[in-house]
């Protein structure tokens, strides 16, 4: 046992997988303890706020300001305010006015503005429709406003309906971000319901790991006991069990999963029930392999000796056979956990996942992101971290598995 553990610790593959898995597991356990609360609280009204730090505009206007004279502030302001459509309109104006703009980069704000100021003439716009003239005039007006050194005023409407000035904001006013009363950093933005994606992701990882764990335990327990029973008893019991097992290996487990899940009512379909259903449809592999190993062990000398000594069947199975299949069962269990997590995700993508309003799962997050087309509107933070988490969990579990495989079967070592 000591040697075995040492071998396992020395397997680089097992340890890499184990460390990745441990990290994910610890985060999903510790974070909810350190920061309890509803993971599905809708903190935002809109959908898919981008990742970043959000500073309260309201509080910022009343925070203490410093005057900073930054050289490129005006350029940055202009660059941010000019949309791609504005730039396209400017290029359009240049072309219509017959200016050579071959080497002009529309993203080069400095040169664009320079050229615009040089060329734009409000009263001389030939070869253009009235609508175009009006649009260009509006654009020019906006650009001039952006460059002018005016001050914004923050007003307060009093009870008598009169506006009263509360503060003024000039272009050179700056506020220390930490001096603003309310600021929130959302590392992964918000999802389609305006919920903190990172928080949701960590809670979802926890639930999904639990789903995988329960599914793995159920599948391994059923698979192990049926395999032991069929392999050790032989005869009719073996025939019956193997008939059922073969049946369920040929009928795809995923189909059964869909059928059972769709026949359970939605309100009952919590994460734990889904986990049990997954476990109930994925045991046949374990049964087959355990049985095959038990059959080869059944007539070993030490087993026969136990039989002659009059030990009960339970005792023989537990103490003379189980230790020999234990290494295999551990590996099968790891794979069952990983495929359980994947099965939950796939079910949820089809709309058959756990119906819950209290805890998210990785599959549900993926489903929500797809339903609100996060993938086509560029909201990568809503789905990519989920994909990465699922892949990392299953990658780490499989690494552990191949590592163990090499420890138990020396022929596979490189």
């Amino acid at each position: 046992m000591k040697n075995l553990l040492r071998d396992i610790r020395r397997s680089p593959r097992f340890m890499t997988g184990f460390l990745i898995f441990l990290f994910i597991l610890l985060v999903s356990i510790l974070y909810p303890l350190l920061s309890p609360g509803d993971p599905l609280a809708m903190i935002g009204r809109g959908t898919f706020a981008a990742p970043g730090t959000y500073v309260s505009l309201y509080d910022a206007t009343s925070a203490k300001t410093e005057t900073l004279l930054l050289p490129d502030a005006d350029d940055n302001r202009l660059a941010a305010a000019m949309s791609d459509a504005d730039r396209a309109a400017m290029v359009n104006y240049f072309t219509l006015s017959g200016v050579a703009i071959d080497d002009l980069d529309p993203q080069d704000t400095d040169r664009m503005i320079e050229l615009w100021q040089e060329i734009f003439d409000e009263n001389n716009m030939p070869k253009m429709t009235n609508a175009q003239r009006r649009d260009f005039r509006n654009l020019d007006k906006r650009l001039k406003e952006l460059q002018a050194s005016d001050t914004l005023y923050v007003m307060d409407m009093g009870e008598d309906g009169e506006y009263e000035q509360r503060s003024s904001v000039s272009k050179t006013d700056y506020v220390n971000a930490s001096a603003v009363a309310n600021a929130k950093t959302l590392l992964l933005g918000t999802d389609n319901f305006g919920r903190d994606t990172l928080r949701e992701l960590i809670y979802a990882t926890g639930t999904s790991l639990l789903v995988g764990l329960v599914a793995g335990i159920v599948a391994t327990l059923i698979g192990l006991s049926l395999g032991l029973l069929a392999g050790y008893m032989g005869g009719v019991a073996d025939d019956v069990i193997m008939f059922i097992t073969n049946l369920f290996t040929v009928i795809p487990g995923f189909v059964l999963l869909i059928l059972i899940s769709s026949s359970v009512s939605q309100d009952m379909r919590g994460p734990s029930l889904v986990a049990v259903i997954i476990g109930l449809t994925s045991w046949p592999w374990t049964t087959r392999s355990v049985r095959a190993q038990v059959v080869s062990l059944r007539n070993r000398d030490h087993v026969n000796l136990s039989k002659l000594s009059g030990h009960s069947m339970l005792r023989i199975v537990l103490s003379d056979i189980l230790p020999y299949v234990a290494s295999y069962v551990v590996m099968a269990f790891i794979l069952q956990v990983s495929s359980g997590i994947l099965a939950e995700a796939q079910l949820s993508m089809l709309g058959l996942g756990p119906k819950t309003t209290t805890t998210p799962t990785l599959g549900l997050m993926m489903n929500w992101a797809m339903l609100y087309s996060a993938h086509t509107n560029g909201s990568w933070w809503a789905y990519f971290p989920v994909i990465l988490t699922i892949t990392l969990i299953s990658f780490s579990l499989n690494l552990m598995n191949t590592g163990l495989d090499q420890v138990f079967n020396p022929t596979l070592r490189d």
Binding site: P252, L259, L350, I387, T391, N398
Partner: protein, 334 residues
């Protein structure tokens, strides 16, 4: 030849027994669903009518039409009888369309997408795995971790990644569907071209996902075979390396064929989910439509057809396997 007859006979009987159970499960499980779909349809059709008699009448009419007023065994007999005629009943959500109609228009898409994709992924994976085992060194060091990581990306995730990179960002592939939405399926070049361009992303997402697992399996099988006694003996006899490698890979291939037969169900399940990402007009998308509208004839029809496809493929692979490896045939007959 007598041995083959017995082997095939056994395989066919087993195929039929599984089929019966699959049909039985497909019949029973959806009918355990607590929601009453007929009530939903009636509610939709009757609209705001408050006349209880009309509601009652419509409800009973539909119960009769869907055959839900009879007892379970009677329903099953009717179900099987209809099944033999290729009739899977009426869809609840797309009433009065028949389920067989909806499925037959989607099953071709799924077969044309998944079979080539899984096969190509299997072949590429096996070649890479064999190369990794034979060349070892640098190639193996890179290939193994990469395949391990790739094989753990779920099919739907790969679908999303390809979609975002190639359709949304690079705009070199269409976003969704099996062909341009403004086209009517016909045999003209523009339509075929549109089908081909829409085919690329779903196809490669399935191929990429299946390569990794196959490569890993083939690699360890080949390493195992390369260290076998017969190889050492052959080397000792001075047989050319080329010839030995040929034998080794033929032997290592065998378990890979069984592996394909056994994992085809899982692979198809994953591929069905990947289809929904591309709104590909196949069975996966049909199944999802059925789920969202609690349309159980459609759900059980889709799952039955999926089961049938898996059963047939497994059966065919079993038969092929019997030819390739006579030992299997012998073991089955005993």
């Amino acid at each position: 030849m007598k041995g083959y007859k017995k082997y095939f006979g056994k395989k066919i009987i087993w195929f039929l027994i599984t089929l019966v159970f699959a049909v039985l499960l497909n019949f029973i499980l959806p009918r355990l669903m607590p929601a009453n779909p007929v009530a939903t349809i009636t509610g939709k059709l009757v609209g705001g009518s408050t006349d209880a008699a009309i509601v009652q009448q419509t409800y009973e009419q539909y119960m009769k039409e869907f055959g839900l007023d009879k007892s379970m065994p009677e329903q099953f007999l009717i179900y099987v009888k209809n099944l033999l005629r290729g009739d899977l009943g009426v869809s609840f959500s797309q009433y009065p369309k028949r389920v067989s109609e909806i499925i037959s228009s989607s099953v071709g898409w799924t077969i044309a997408l998944q079979l080539p994709a899984i096969l190509v992924g299997w072949i590429i994976g096996n070649v890479l795995g064999a190369l990794a085992a034979y060349i070892k060194k640098g190639f193996d060091k890179v290939l193994l971790p990469v395949s391990l990581f790739m094989s753990n990306i779920p099919a739907f995730a790969m679908a999303v990644i390809l979609l975002v990179v190639f359709a949304v960002n690079l705009k070199v592939a269409p976003l969704a569907g099996g062909y341009n939405y403004d086209m009517i399926p016909n045999l003209s070049w523009p339509f075929i071209w549109s089908v081909i361009t829409h085919y690329q992303l779903p196809f490669w997402s399935i191929v990429l996902v299946s390569i990794g697992g196959q490569a890993i399996g083939m690699r360890s099988m080949s390493i195992y075979e390369l260290n076998a006694d017969y190889v050492k003996y052959a080397r000792f006899l001075g047989i050319k390396d080329r010839k030995i490698v040929g034998y080794v890979f033929r032997n290592a291939m065998l378990p890979q064929v069984t592996g394909l037969a056994m994992s085809i169900g899982t692979m198809m399940g994953g591929a069905l989910v990947a289809e929904t990402i591309f709104s590909y007009p196949g069975l996966g998308t049909t199944l999802m439509k059925g789920v969202t509208s609690a349309d159980y004839p459609l759900i059980s029809g889709s799952t039955l057809v999926t089961t049938l496809m898996v059963l047939v493929i497994t059966f065919v692979l079993d038969i092929i396997y019997g030819f390739i490896d006579p030992r299997v045939k012998a073991a089955t007959i005993e």
